[in-house]
Subunit: 528 residues, 2 copies
């Protein structure tokens, strides 16, 4: 089928959607006699046993019908098929977009760089698994023949946020399930105090460092590599015996004797989409064993498969994406909060912040033409119940409406709990998420307006039994695919990031003292 | 002088301000020949050697003149004087607002609860200092007579975010300055995996736990206390020998033999304003010694004093507040990003998120009447340069404009650095912040719109030589006072949080199985 890449505001379904502004009162829908029925019906199975519930979103069957039309008119699943069949979807950088291929194959064989890319990703995954097994078995050891006990990832942006969020998400699960192999740490910021603090608390002689940079030229990462090498040398250690690289085959880090081993990715995997490549694979396989990483990939693959479903109500990522477009472009909400009721997901919002804002914070379409509608929202969030004692005040009673994404699990990971006032902490945690959904949706009248809640604040709930590696993979892929579908709907390129270039260029000028005017005046504050 | 508490939209200066929408092009102001002059002039000294630079904000002398009028017409410094002289500024809960009194006295003696409150706060600070000195000297020890080496704070919201952010901000400074006494850890979430993970990595026999709850009834905190007590008992330890409390004198935790010691605060200090009370004082004094905490208070007191200055251009918190009102109510920007170029401030944005959004996320004025203008924005942020590799894409090229608050320091804390390509990491860090300010302000044209930057994205820069305890105190107080002034300008009560109540009530209903309809249907997902 020929794909028609058109701007959102050219679609007739979008015009219909705009006529549905404010069409649904969730207070009425959920507060009324049919509330329970709606909760049961407005629910879509995700991968790995997760469920996407959108009963507290501002949609009804009429809005859903138009979203369905929009999905078809914009050919959203067809565009996804283009992507996984190997089209040049990253139009800005003229690249394929293949991160889904790191965890499964949905379409045609994709050939690039003279190789079958699925085979390439599997090969790298297997090489990482073998290496991790050797480290765990004491076959790859330090100079004294001792086992490595710690892994330290050096990377920034997508080489840091995703892998770090995934590590934290599974650390306690792995400990409770006897699959915890090594502690992982992360160095990212060019602020020298970051590397100093991590290195001070690390047993260097028993640590493997993973240098992660696709290009092999990321300034922060190379700077921190020097930091680490200095520290290793001062400790009488040989850096080449303690460092591995995750990079592209064309980078200066590849096939380089300075590294014990190198694992490869390529230009078809953007940093923010790289957690399922070697960028996440090396650190997660070393920390938890290759089986955990493989399960994580399986969960993502399940979700990818669901995302190919043409039926909107059987495609949770597509549905989530289009409800988001309705909220952003019709309801005109400027930001979205991600609220996981799970301490393990404490850095998941920071990862989604990059994933979403770096992908869809664009003002031109995929052909480089200015567009006339808003695109990606601001994304922020903290885990519940912590957030309840922080910024929820504004979410409940502030003057703007912020759509909410709740995430929760019936069981905790560590299996340790305490009963206070007849309920466990885990039950309290879940009771709170349920209570918040209803409080935001239905509000409450009160004689005193200061104690009144307007309600009509939409949220969705993603939930599962427990946060396992497979569930985490599905959760991650859900958001990756949601962001992709929104990018398709907005007709933008979600896979480049030209917006980061200007700052880099100016920073180089400053460091070269090649400045004048206001730039020089600012630089003088810091005696640069 | 009689104070006139009027809504913002009743002020003639506000109407003038509205006529100045889009009045200033920062690209022109900063990009032109007078750019350097503007950078030098649009600068205000803060406390403790900090500087507030607003050269990259969308203001000029005309806008500033109207902001000055607004400050006078709204009697903003007079309202601040009311507050520190002990008026009932928290109108919702009918309470005084005295957090500034924990660090200095700007006005009249304030008598409440039959005591001089400044004396009360000093007395508690001194009691904490004595206790901390005894712990450090080995005079307060565990049952085996061994020194305590770790302090664990149990608290949520303001009892967690502020103290945690302050601890992280000073940890490396204290280590580099030989004043690091004990490691601090924090337990906050009711998610049982939070307490489990912290306790697993903690040497219980050598730990002091600080239970922090003003009311002594915070569900999360009491639940986590039980968790900790169970763990202590299982380890054969007596909880009463390992726990202290920070609470109000009327709480069940006060004068209670279950605690080794209790330190007191009162109803006049809101959680999000409590870092300079015992809530921050106990953990920071134990971690770094009482002198560090005293310096931190001195920095805050300096800033509080500056905030009393009636001259807008000599009052950085007031100026920052009013530029924020201009951005929010005239320029209509929905959110603000806080971007510290300092890894030590990694959780400072999360604290400001609570401080700002919980204080000013309100839709009624201080008399409980609905207002017709927007109030507090969404606040989010991560440290730079990390954020540059994450969400900055949207900030540079997204469809909405987000005002930015940069924070940076000429020197790092640990004093350890490395030279790569002729510059230290610290210089690179500072070069980046300077470059970003100019990139956001001036943008860049390009034949390819995908590589073009619109610019005109306002930011301010707070900077100092180094992040020390005193500088941190001034930085904290600056934002507290900024939020206070904005609350005054919006004529709202920045000191209550009624928006958190409904969720609590509904969660209790859920836990009591007292539900029906949609609420029951949601609860069923988690078998509650």
């Amino acid at each position: 089928m020929a794909i028609n890449w058109e701007n959102l505001d050219k679609l007739s379904s979008y015009k219909k959607l705009q006529s549905l502004k404010g069409a649904v009162s969730i207070a009425k829908e959920l507060g009324g006699a049919d509330g329970a029925k709606r909760v049961a019906e407005y629910s879509v199975p995700m991968g790995a046993g997760l469920t996407y519930n959108f009963a507290a979103k501002q949609v009804d069957d009429k809005v859903l019908a138009v979203l369905k039309e929009l999905a078809e008119e914009a050919q959203l699943t067809e565009k996804y098929a283009e992507l996984y069949n190997g089209a040049v979807v990253n139009t800005g950088e003229k690249r394929l977009v293949l991160h889904q291929l790191t965890r499964g194959q949905l379409g045609n064989d994709v050939m690039a760089d003279g190789t079958n890319k699925r085979d390439f990703y599997i090969k790298e995954q297997n090489r990482i698994a073998e290496f991790a097994d050797k480290v765990h078995a004491g076959k790859v050891v330090n100079a004294k023949g001792e086992k490595f006990t710690t892994v330290v990832q050096i990377g920034i942006g997508g080489s840091d946020l995703g892998p770090r969020a995934m590590y934290l998400a599974l650390e306690n699960w792995a400990k409770a399930n006897n699959t915890f192999k090594m502690e992982a740490k992360f160095i990212s910021n060019v602020d020298p105090d970051d590397a100093t603090a991590v290195l001070k608390s690390t047993d260097l002689a028993h640590s493997i460092f993973i240098l992660v940079s696709k290009s092999g030229t990321t300034l922060e990462t190379l700077t921190n590599e020097s930091f680490v090498k200095d520290a290793l040398k001062k400790a009488g250690l040989d850096p080449a015996k303690h460092m591995i690289a995750v990079t592209s085959e064309t980078s200066p880090l590849a096939h380089n004797p300075d590294y014990l081993e190198a694992f490869y990715m390529d230009d078809y995997i953007g940093g923010r989409y790289s957690s399922t490549s070697g960028v996440g694979g090396a650190v997660l396989s070393l920390a938890f064993g290759p089986k955990v990483f493989a399960d994580f990939l399986d969960g993502a693959a399940e979700e990818d498969k669901l995302s190919a479903n043409k039926d909107l109500l059987k495609n949770p990522a597509l549905l989530d994406a289009l409800i988001g477009v309705y909220e952003r472009n019709v309801q005109e909400y400027p930001s979205t909060a991600v609220l996981p009721y799970s301490q393990a997901l404490s850095r998941f919002p920071a990862h989604l912040q990059q994933l979403d804002m770096e992908s869809n914070g664009k003002s031109v379409n995929r052909f480089g033409e200015k567009i006339d509608y808003v695109t990606g929202p601001v994304i922020f969030g903290e885990p519940g119940t912590n957030g309840q004692h922080s910024f929820y005040q504004l979410l409940h009673q502030g003057t703007d409406v912020t759509p909410l994404q709740f995430i929760a699990f019936k069981e905790n990971q560590a299996g340790n709990d305490v009963v206070i006032e007849d309920s466990t902490s885990q039950k309290k945690l879940c009771a709170n998420v349920v209570a918040q959904i209803m409080a935001f949706a239905c509000g409450k009248t009160d004689e005193n307006p200061n104690k009144a809640f307007a309600g009509e604040r939409p949220s969705s709930l993603i939930y599962a039994n427990k946060l396992t590696p497979k569930v985490l993979g599905a959760l991650l892929a859900h958001f990756e695919n949601k962001v992709m579908f929104q990018g398709f709907a907005w007709n933008i390129n979600s896979f480049d990031q030209e917006g980061v270039q200007l700052g880099k260029v100016l920073a180089k000028k400053v460091l070269a003292h090649n400045t004048d005017g206001a730039l020089k005046a600012f630089a003088d504050f810091f005696e640069i």
